[in-house]
Structure formats: C-alpha cells, structure tokens
C-alpha cells in the first residue's frame, strides 16, 4: 500500500493532536509537512515530519502532498479550503468550516469544481459507542425513533477571550450536538426552540454569550429531540446520548479513565468521566483520520462532508435566532440572512 502523503496546516492543540495521530496511529499516512508561523522543531523531530514551514503555498505547490488537514484558526478555513482545492489537494477541515452558510457553500463549490474530497471534523460520528448506536438504530433495534437526547457538558468553562472569538455557544459547542442529532436520527431538523442562560460565569454573559442551553426540536420524520449543554460540570466531560423508539431505547454512557469502583463508609465511588474531549474521543479522532486517508486512497466518498457542516451551521443560526427572539424557529425560515458568528 502506497502511503498517502499529507500536510497539516495549523499547529495548535488540535493540529498537533491530528499530526501525532496520523504519525502514530493511522496506517498508510505519511505526514510530510506542518504549516505554522511557529513550529516546535523538537516536536516535529520526534514525529519525523521533515518539512516545517510558515508558507501554505509550499505544501500546496508540493506535488507529493495529496491531502491537507486544516486546523488553522476558523476564520481562515474557507480561504484555505479554496486554495487547497484549487491546488487539487483533498481536504480534511476542522469544524466549524465557517459560521456563515454562504461561505460554506463557497467552499463546497470550490471542492466540487476541483473534484477533491472534503471531510469535516465532526469526530463524534467515528466514536465506537455512537457508531454502535447508529448501527443499532439503522438495524431497527429501537424501532421507529420517537425521541433523541444529547447531553453535552464541558468540564470547565473556557477563558472569556476564547468565548469572544468562538462564535458563541450554539456555533462553537452545540454545533456538534446538531450534527449528532442528524447523524443518530438519520433525519433533518425542521424546527427548534432554544433556551439559553448564563449560570456558570457572569463574564461569559458580559461577553455576549451564554453558558447553559436547552434546545428542543422536531425532526422531519416526526420524532422529537432534546439537547442540553453546559460549559462547566466540575466533574469531567459529560457526553451522553439516548435514542428512544417504538421497540425500546439505546443509550451511550460516559467513558471513564478506569473502571475502578471503591467502596467505603463514605460511599461507593467510581471514576469521573474523562476530563477533556481529547481523551473522551481519542479513538474517534484516530478513526476519522483513518477514514479520511482511506477515502483519499480508495477514491471512496467521505462519511461527513460540507453538506453536514452546512446543516449544522444553519441549525446553530436558527438556535441563536430562537434564543434571541424567544420563539420556535423553523429551519426553512432562517436561511435568508444568517449573520452567523456574531455573538449571541
């Protein structure tokens, strides 16, 4: 098997994680270059990545590079997708591709015109638990779907500086939940109602965002959904999912670092959930890149593409409108002018 040569654009936390996964855990991937204004040379040495550069064009002009992994700041995603597509490179892009549906459509058009692949970093679709759930639902184990529930809570509220440039809770955080809702149900969200609150950190409120949300929604197949989000649990990264239907239900629980249970007079104590998304979705992050590399190698379609990014962003826009105007919003109404990315 000829290895697929890739370049990683962006060397922040996610960029470094993807590079490490590609080198250590994805068979058939050859990381040739990392693009960043500041590359830690010792880190790149350890991974055996030969090319370190601040110039995107250096990898885009390199005929050996077949695919790029875009993990640069989100504001640059669409521009990088268009340039990479024009250079004939296949693309894996972290979420969010963009906050505005129009920009995602531009990226989609550029990719289609160039005939390259674009996979979007909705990593949860590759989590073994959620995949097993998805297969069970598709196999009819729960019958017709009646209710889908997603619980998404971060361990610690992010710094306010991050919140200010994040696009807001619906675009930055709940966007994964909107995608998960579509993925698990196999149906489109047609209407939603979002309640938001500032209960964790008043600074987040002053920055114009919220830190707690409940989103209820109606799916095209008639089922109902519930998403609850919090920026801070204090007990770890809380990720739970349930699909309930005419024949029963299926549930994905939190995963824990170990399975130790200790009992004493004080109580029966088990591990908290994993602390961060990096640990919780470790397998998913590897599997999404393995799938991407395999799609590039085999010429098969990617499992999560621009249309999914588009649907999730449109949903986030509808959720923001719903929250601001305190009313249910139909997805079909909000498409005219989604000035996405503005803080709620």
């Amino acid at each position: 098997m000829t290895p697929t040569t890739v370049a990683v654009i962006g060397a922040g936390r996610i960029g470094r994680m993807h590079a490490e996964n590609l080198v250590r855990a994805v068979p058939g991937a050859n990381v040739k270059a990392v693009v960043s204004p500041r590359v830690d040379a010792a880190w790149a040495d350890t991974l055996g990545i030969p090319v370190r550069t601040a110039e995107v064009d250096r990898v885009l002009n390199d005929p050996e590079v077949e695919a790029v992994i875009i993990t640069a700041p989100s504001g640059r995603h669409v521009e990088l997708i268009r340039r990479a597509a024009a250079a004939g490179k296949h693309i894996f892009c972290e979420k969010p591709v963009a906050f505005e549906p129009g920009l995602i459509e531009q990226a989609q058009a550029a990719v289609a015109a160039a005939g390259v692949k674009l996979q979007v970093g909705f990593n949860r679709r590759f989590d073994p638990g959620l995949l097993r759930m998805w297969m069970a639902v598709r196999a009819g184990e729960v019958g017709e779907i009646h209710q889908v529930r997603v619980t998404n809570r971060d361990p610690k509220a992010p710094p306010v500086d991050f919140v200010k440039r994040s696009g807001g809770l619906f675009f930055d955080f709940a966007i994964h939940d909107f995608d998960t809702m579509r993925f698990l149900s196999g149906s489109e969200i047609v209407e939603l109602y979002a309640l938001g609150a500032v209960l964790v950190d008043p600074e987040i409120g002053r920055a114009g965002d919220i830190d707690t949300a409940v989103i209820t929604l109606r799916l095209a197949d008639g089922a109902l959904g519930v998403i609850d989000c919090s920026r801070q649990t204090n007990y770890g990264y809380d990720q739970r999912f349930e699909v309930f239907g005419s024949k029963g239900s299926i549930f994905v629980d939190n995963t824990t670092p170990t399975t130790v249970v200790s009992s004493s007079k004080g109580g029966v104590v088990a591990d908290r959930p994993h602390e961060t998304f990096v640990e919780r979705y470790r397998e998913a992050f590897i599997a999404e890149l393995s799938a991407f590399v395999a799609a590039v190698r085999d010429g098969s379609p990617v499992r999560v593409g621009a249309e999914d990014a588009l649907a999730a962003v449109k949903t986030a826009g509808a959720a923001r409108t719903s929250h601001l105007e305190n009313r249910p919003v139909r997805l079909s109404e909000g498409l005219q002018q989604t000035s996405g990315g503005k803080r709620q």
Partner: protein, 341 residues
Amino acid sequence: MRVITAGILGAGRIGKIHANNLMAMAGVRLKAIADPYTDFKEWPGPAITASRDPEDVLKDGEIEAVLICSPTPSHADFTDAAARAGKHIFCEKPIALDPERVRATLATVKRSGVKLQVGFNRRFDPTFARVRQAIVNGEIGDVQLVRITARDPAAPPIEYVMSSGGMFVDMTIHDFDMVRFLSGSEVEEVHAYGAVLVDPGIGKAGDIDTAVTSMRLSNGALAIIENSRQAVFGYDQRIEVFGSKGGIEAHNETPARTVLRTAAGIRSENPLYFFLERYQRSFVIELEAFFSSIRDDKEPPAGGKDGLMALVVGLAAKQSLVEGRPVRVEKLASPEAKKVR
C-alpha cells in the same frame, strides 16, 4: 401517638391501595369507605364500614380525615363538602381541570381551616426525596438544570385519554410538580413540542402521546421533561438535577438487582412495570406525612397551591403546543398578575 380516624371516598384502584395502606398504618384507624359503584362483597372486610353513599363518610362525626380517591370530576365537590364538614383532606391529583374551580375549592378549604394535601406521591419516593435533600444540602450547588424522563409502559385506553384532560395535565402534571419540588422554584415559562407516535387513536382523540417540554424557572435555571405513553421495556422514570457543583441522578428501579452474563451479552433487569410497583413506598409515606401534619398541626408537604401550580403549568404547556410558542405561566397562574400587566 394519637390515633386519627379516617374515611375514604372512592374504592377504585388508588382508593384500594390507600385503604390497604391505612389498615396497616400505626396511628390511623380507617373507619369507613364509600363508593357508589362497588359492592364490597370481597373487600375490605367486616372491620370497616363500607357504603355506597359518600354522605356516610362525610357525615360521620368521628371521622377526622377524608381521602378523596373518586374519579377526577368529583374531586372538587367532595373536597368542598369535606372541608365544610370540618374534615382534613387528602385529595388525589388533580383537584379539578379548571384552575378557577381549583381556586374556589382552595378558598373553601382555607375558610374551613382544615388541612389539604394533594396526591403528588413522587415527592415521597425515597429516591427522589434523597435527590431533593442533596439539593437542599447544597451538594450540587445552585440548580442549573432539571431533567426528567417519564415514560409509561403502555398507552392507556382511548376512553381514558378522552376524559384525562390531555397528557400534560394527566401525566406530565407529576413531572411539573417534580420540577417545582426539586428546584424549589416556580416555572416561569414553558414551551412544548408534542407528537402522536405511539397510537394514532390518541391523536384522533385530540391528544398526544409523545412530548418534550422545556421550561425557564424563576431562579434562572432551565428544565426539560421527556414523556412517552409507551416505553415497551417498562416504566421509565429517571431524574437528573445538574448544578454549579455537580449533578445527581436517579435511575430506574428494578424488581431485583441481577446482571446476567452470557455469550449473548450482559443483561440487567427491566424497570419495575408501572407506577403501582415503582412508587409503592411513596403511597405509604405520603399518607404518613399527611397524618403527621394533622397530628402535629403542620402544613402538609404537598398542598393546594402545589396542586394548582402544577395544573397551571400543564395548561400552559397545552397552550404552547396548540399555539406553537412559549407561554408565560404567571398569566395563567394569577388573574391579579394579569390585571397588573
């Protein structure tokens, strides 16, 4: 302990449960039970006066407390009559389906100076009571989210659905009470999505069988209730309260605690089948609390206001579903508030 003499109106399913519980309860003497539709041949035995006439209970000067377990449409009239007769009252929920009627009855009760407890039995379930205690103790900090899953094991007959007042005031009313009880806060605004996914007959009868309801509470917290009339695996009753210091969760309870491991997989037990099994202990504890409040002259732990508020939230949810918008509860809760606005 002073023995209190009690009577029961209504010998249907819940009336019988309460009667049997009272017969075994210390400090209570069940003297009489009345139901126009029961012949009392097999039950309750010679020690208890059984009658087809409610007046036999209401006019008995020895009876200090009355349990009203008759069909819903007669709750308010019997509560009024019992209050005028100076008897303390335990009334099954709902007191009435019309808030004005409930208010009138609460005024009668107040004038009579008797105690009124409403049958929100779940407050007395040991598991849910422990959840409330954890909140009161500050174990999870400030409440930020209350999440309730409440699913029945099988859809009720259509005749029942038609006289029930609809899912929100019949079934979800217990969950609205739990939201208020656990959070210690009022529901300010409610939004409901509903669907007919279990039984088209329920839809034809003008009701729904599946719902997700979201709420904003007066302390700023949010709440979610998921309902279904049919969970084929059993009575699905789970609660989670999430707060600034963590969360607490109540799982389903099961008949036993086994886990079976075989080549086919790891199998644990289905939830207890329905409310009679799941909330068995709560029915005893709620009555113990009722009789304690009479004996010690205290406010009953689930009073008339609780009955009214849960009903009003249920009606607001119903209105939200019909009108497709969030509904503020205060507009329904107090006519005075409406005038002021």
